[in-house]
């Protein structure tokens, strides 16, 4: 995992080299004087070579030594420093962590909603396999997977903010303002989870312990909710972890729709919109690392939940 994190950070670090032309000119504009550009490059370390070695057709492979941007970024990172914003001159770290809680709140709310919808729906579908109610649930689930966030979001706004006027269309001023964004973000996840729970329940219902439970006279309700669900939820936990990445990426779109002041909006408006490349790097880095860490945690939880894996 550490190797993967190292590579991800390295890739993000080197992303800035992809900018066509010179970042200083892009930021300061064509009218900037040579002196302004030099000052800007000096301030953000852009005057230093990009990597430990460089290759040009004239001079071939050239060793640049330890004084390079790649090393700079790592040294900063290890000191908890994500660099200084190209636009606002504020530390990128502060800008990101002002917005971080809003995104996590949104993702957590979306996950809760998804679970609250998916478990009952999946259980009903799974226990009524191939009956009418299962077909309906499966169809709704497929619909949920296919409807993109940016279709669900405006549709919900239209329905609940424009027509019924229950919620306000954008912003995060009131506590209930989280409902629409969270449902929007959680819709696809709840659909995926429903399918997971359904197939999991169907599989578990065929196990021997279910026959035992039924034979000892437990009601069907007890069998399903006490025994089947307990085992059936294990694979669902894994999916939850893996889907967190989709949720984090989806929150970029959701935040845009609802003007939710989270990390995604920071990335889009202040980062990409204003070509603040240092800020973009920071956002991509923080979102990716959050995802990797969450995934590893899921793995741990999964191992604890399923004794068969713990032994193996």
């Amino acid at each position: 995992m550490l190797l993967v994190i190292w590579t991800v950070v390295s890739l993000v670090t080197l992303l800035i080299e992809l900018v066509p032309g010179d970042p200083a000119t892009v930021i300061l504009g064509e009218t900037a004087t040579r002196e302004q550009i030099e000052n800007f490059n000096l301030k953000h370390g852009l005057d230093r070579p990009a990597f430990f070695f460089s290759y040009t057709s004239e001079s071939g492979l050239k060793w640049n030594g330890g004084e390079n941007r790649y090393a700079d970024y790592w040294i900063g990172l290890l000191h908890g420093d994500l660099g200084t914003s190209f636009r606002t001159d504020r530390p990128v770290r502060d800008m990101i962590f002002e917005r971080y809680p809003a995104t996590i709140k949104l993702a957590a709310a979306a996950m809760l909603i998804a679970i609250a919808i998916a478990i009952p729906l999946g259980v009903v579908a799974g226990t009524h396999k191939n009956k009418f109610i299962d077909n309906v649930a499966s169809f709704v689930a497929l619909l949920g997977i296919s409807l993109p966030t940016f279709v669900v979001g405006p549709f919900l706004v239209y329905l609940f903010a424009v027509q019924m006027r229950i919620f306000s269309p954008t912003g995060s001023a009131h506590p209930e303002d989280i409902v629409l964004p969270a449902v929007t973000l959680g819709a696809a996840l709840s659909a995926i989870l429903t399918r997971m729970v359904r197939s999991s329940v169907i599989e578990e219902l065929g196990e021997d312990y279910v026959r035992t439970a039924r034979a000892k006279g437990l009601s069907e309700r007890m069998v399903v909710y006490k025994h089947v669900l307990k085992n059936g939820l294990i694979p669902v936990v894994t999916i939850l972890g893996l889907q967190l990445g989709v949720l984090l990426a989806g929150s970029i779109i959701t935040e845009r729709i609802f003007n939710w002041q989270g990390l995604g909006l920071l990335l889009l408006e202040d980062g990409i919109g204003k070509r603040d490349y240092r800020l973009v790097q920071g956002c991509v880095l923080v979102i990716s690392v959050t995802f990797i860490v969450a995934n590893s945690l899921t793995d741990l939880v999964y191992r604890r939940l399923d004794p068969r894996i713990r032994v193996g």
Binding site: V4, S146, P148, T149, V151, P154, T170, L248, I272, F291
Partner: protein
């Protein structure tokens, strides 16, 4: 195949036809503005109404099919080829090669959440058709590689592969004439679902303003139409591109699900 699969095929066919014959089907020039006729409701002249600049929504939706499929087909083709080759190599050679490819390279690409890497790439590279396709391929290939690796790992142990080896067939011959043709089925399913994913990604990036500039994309149209007053006064501007993207993605998902059942005899027998 079940009914949903046929529905999927039918919708996909309509989208493909719209994309190919966009210039014939579109009733207006997709960029022609008529500022006196902004936000017009659907009528016999403008079937889907007009948008903020008085442009014909129907024509824009039809042309939107072209960019969607252009990006989708290219991304799926390129990703499938790259994924198949790398997945097959990892599965076939195993050992250190597999450790490096599957244990490391695949995991790095899986470590970026969803669209984020594509967003980042376009943000740094700039917008454009080629760059958009490149970004989507970078995030797309690893899915195919994983499926392919799993398939090859399974198939290379089969008796007929061992028999071919015993007869002295070269690695290349075993891989290309014996393993690949038998490993291709799940890849077809993956490609169909991947098509839905690529179309969705293109629309998402366009929605975020990172798509191909100055072509009518469904994502861009939704972005332009989601303002509060537009929703209030003329929701049709939002409705039609939303329907188009939703139906297209749904169609390819139906198709993928149907193919999966059709190609897997175990599920079919049920």
């Amino acid at each position: 195949m079940n009914r949903l699969t046929y529905i999927g095929i039918a919708i996909a066919a309509v989208v493909v036809l719209a994309a190919i014959f966009a210039s014939v089907i579109a009733t207006h020039d997709y960029n022609a503005q008529d500022l006196l006729l902004r936000y017009a409701s659907p009528s016999s002249d403008h079937w889907f109404g007009t948008d903020a600049l008085g442009r014909d929504v129907f024509s824009r939706v039809v042309w939107g099919a072209r960019i969607s499929l252009e990006v989708g087909i290219t991304v799926v083709t390129v990703s499938t080829v790259i994924g198949t080759v790398l997945g097959a190599i990892a599965g076939f050679y195993g050992g250190l090669v597999d450790k490096i490819l599957a244990g490391y390279v695949f995991n790095v690409f899986l470590a970026f959440p969803g669209l984020l890497l594509a967003i980042a790439l376009v943000a740094f590279l700039g917008t454009g058709l080629g760059k958009l396709i490149l970004a989507l391929c970078v995030i797309g290939w690893v899915g195919y590689a994983r499926v392919m690796r799993g398939q090859v790992l399974k198939i290379r142990e089969y008796d007929y592969v061992q028999a071919a080896r015993a007869l002295g067939a070269s690695n290349m011959r075993i891989l290309f004439t014996h393993i690949l043709p038998n490993a291709i089925q799940p890849l077809i399913v993956q490609a169909s679902l991947g098509m839905a994913g690529a179309v969705l990604s293109e629309a998402s990036l366009s929605f975020l303003g990172l798509g191909v500039p100055s072509v009518p994309s469904w994502g861009t149209m939704i972005e332009e139409a989601r303002g509060f007053d537009v929703l209030y006064n003329s929701p049709h501007v939002l409705l039609f591109p939303s329907l188009a993207i939703a139906l297209t993605v749904l169609a390819f998902n139906f198709l993928g699900d149907g193919l999966r059942e059709y190609l897997d005899p175990k599920q079919r027998a049920r």
